[in-house]
Subunit: 138 residues, 2 copies
DNA sequence: CTCGATTTGATACATTATATCATTTCTCAG
DNA sequence: CTGAGAAATGATATAATGTATCAAATCGAG
């Protein structure tokens, strides 16, 4: 990952690999597994899993990519970039994903749940269900 | 999984494999991977991953076991059994896990976040951090 | 330029999870 | 009771996800 210097503006300062992986994710607009990303960027020269995982780790630490733990999949941030105050809802059938921003009020309420003796570093909030379209189809 | 009949009381009606897996988890009091469980129950005759995964699926659908998606690991419900209104906090260092019950107020607040066009089926709420002991050790 | 540090590439492997088919056990109509 | 079909379990194989490790290339200070 390239050095992140003083003003961490947008997607300056991403490594070439990070840019490739991010573009793959933005193109898809659906969550992708690391290996699906690998297939997608292979033509551009990336050919090994650790390369993809490294780029994903860099992008995730910048808040530009989020990992959906329920799906073992990755998605480009719907806002370009954001900190830890987000959640996801997704349809288990069609994989449609919606990123949800948590306002301060909601987030502070959540944090109150955390036991005092744990210093919170990361919050995972994911809602799984069926979207209207998929319900209708059932 | 054995038939679950009229009064789904407690752990009547669990299959022999479910009982073995549940006891392994209760003994450990720490989250275990499916393969750690497999090692633990092997002496009792279970010897293949799908057997463990099937028992875990049954126990999870009963709410007697929860899956920690952040860790790809499983834990026995701290209350014996509970529905979808729970969360977890865990220490990324020592793996200590605490199950958190969500009261109606908190849960209803969470549900308000879900887009109207998704019928919610499952909520995942996990907090990762460092416990005081591990912070001190750092 | 040259040394050491960081980043990237490559190989190999570990871990987690599931598809599939064979076997056994259970149900219950006859 | 019996035996055909359904359901659960056992077994094998393999797929999908993720990481440890070392080698080569690149970068940056001195
Ligand atoms: Zn975001
Ligand atoms: Zn859908
Ligand atoms: Zn519980
Ligand atoms: Zn700890």
């Amino acid at each position: 990952m390239a050095t992140k210097h003083q003003h961490d503006h947008a997607e300056d300062d991403l490594s070439a690999n990070e840019v490739r992986v991010l573009e793959a994710l933005r193109d898809s607009k659906e969550p992708m597994s690391a290996y699906a990303i690998l297939d997608r960027v292979r033509p551009s020269g990336i050919s090994h899993p650790p390369t993809v995982y490294r780029a994903l780790a860099g992008l995730e630490s910048l808040g530009m990519v989020h990992r959906l733990k329920s799906l073992s999949a990755f998605v480009a941030c719907g806002h370009g970039r954001c900190g830890g105050r987000f959640a996801f809802a997704f349809c288990r059938q069609c994989q449609r994903v919606e990123e949800i921003s948590l306002d301060d009020e909601h987030y502070d309420d959540l944090v109150k749940l955390v036991p005092k003796d744990i210093h919170l570093e990361q919050t995972t909030l994911e809602f799984a269900g069926l979207c209207s379209a998929c319900q209708a189809a059932a």
